[in-house]
């Protein structure tokens, strides 16, 4: 793959198979292989990632998302831990408004992609535990005694509602496949 094949809006560069983008420094975005592209889902680079997904949506490449911690070669962990990080990263980023709206606007089915990733790694058993862990974070609220008001950590109500029915959605996807 050449740099000409990528969207021209941003500055890209390659280090072997690692794709980098310029945002003050050169930050890792994706690892491009023969058949699939592993994108590091990073909230700091949401615009660049969405443009990449839009670019490669209908092509021969399969898109999967990984945790940005794994881009650092110093960060050495076992395969099981890496799986946990990746699956957690999938759902936590889905609770971010930038990705929640962005993927919806593109027409990219993020949940289907998540299930595909789980099937590829053979980790369907872990879905429920990780979903419960992330959902508690999303539904978390705190009380401000100075204002006599309670606040949610995720401000948007539609995202919280989507997360409440997310596990049911995942189960339906699994049944249909």
């Amino acid at each position: 793959m050449d740099l000409n094949d990528l969207p021209r809006k941003y500055e890209w560069s390659f280090r072997k198979d690692l794709l980098l983008v310029k945002n003050i420094a050169w930050l890792p975005v994706a690892r491009i292989k023969e058949k699939n592209i592993d994108i590091y889902l990073d909230i700091r680079l949401h615009k660049q990632i969405l443009s990449l997904v839009k670019h490669f949506m209908g092509t021969k490449y399969k898109i999967f998302f990984l945790s940005p911690l794994l881009a650092n070669p110093k960060f050495s962990i076992t395969k099981e831990e890496a799986l946990d990080y990746n699956m957690d990263n999938y759902l936590t980023n889905y609770s971010q408004a930038q990705f929640f709206d962005g993927f919806k606007k593109l027409g990219f089915d993020f949940i289907e992609n998540f299930i595909e990733f789980c099937n590829k790694e053979k980790s369907e058993n872990l879905i429920k535990d990780i979903y419960l862990k992330v959902n508690t974070k999303v539904q978390k609220s705190y009380y401000d005694y100075y204002q006599n008001r309670s606040f949610f950590l995720v401000e948007r109500e539609d995202i919280r509602d989507a997360f409440n029915s997310l596990y049911r959605e995942i189960q339906i996807y699994q049944l249909l496949k």
């Binding site: 945002n23 003050i24 420094a25 930050l27 990073d42 909230i43 700091r44 945790s67 940005p68 911690l69 990263n89 936590t92 980023n93």
Partner: protein
């Protein structure tokens, strides 16, 4: 000419310098913008953090402001000297509005 692009470039150099200084103080745990906890983060990890805005220049220098007040299109609030020349309508904002219109007509945006 020291234009918008040059100003952005110099701004970036300053931001880099400040980030590198700041990262030396972060020897203990650091909450990354993705929700992870990092130990001994590098300066690139600080990009996009909660206090990232503090690395940018908030104030203009006097000489910079003076130059802007004299020579920019926005040098006065009441009267704006718009001089269309060649393809330009006179101001960058008007040009951008026109450009977006053309993009929408051709279905590119």
């Amino acid at each position: 000419m020291r234009d918008r692009c040059w100003r952005r470039f110099t701004q970036e150099l300053k931001v880099k310098k400040r980030l590198k200084l700041k990262s030396q103080n972060h020897s203990w745990r650091f909450y990354a913008p993705n929700g992870h906890i990092l130990y001994y983060p590098s300066w690139t990890d600080l990009i996009g953090s909660d206090y990232a805005h503090s690395f940018k220049e908030q104030n203009q220098s006097y000489s910079r402001y003076n130059h802007y007040r004299r020579y920019s299109a926005n040098n006065s609030l009441y009267y704006r000297d718009i001089k269309p020349n060649r393809d330009s309508l006179g101001t960058r904002e008007a040009d951008r509005r026109e450009f977006l219109k053309i993009l929408k007509e051709h279905g590119l945006k």
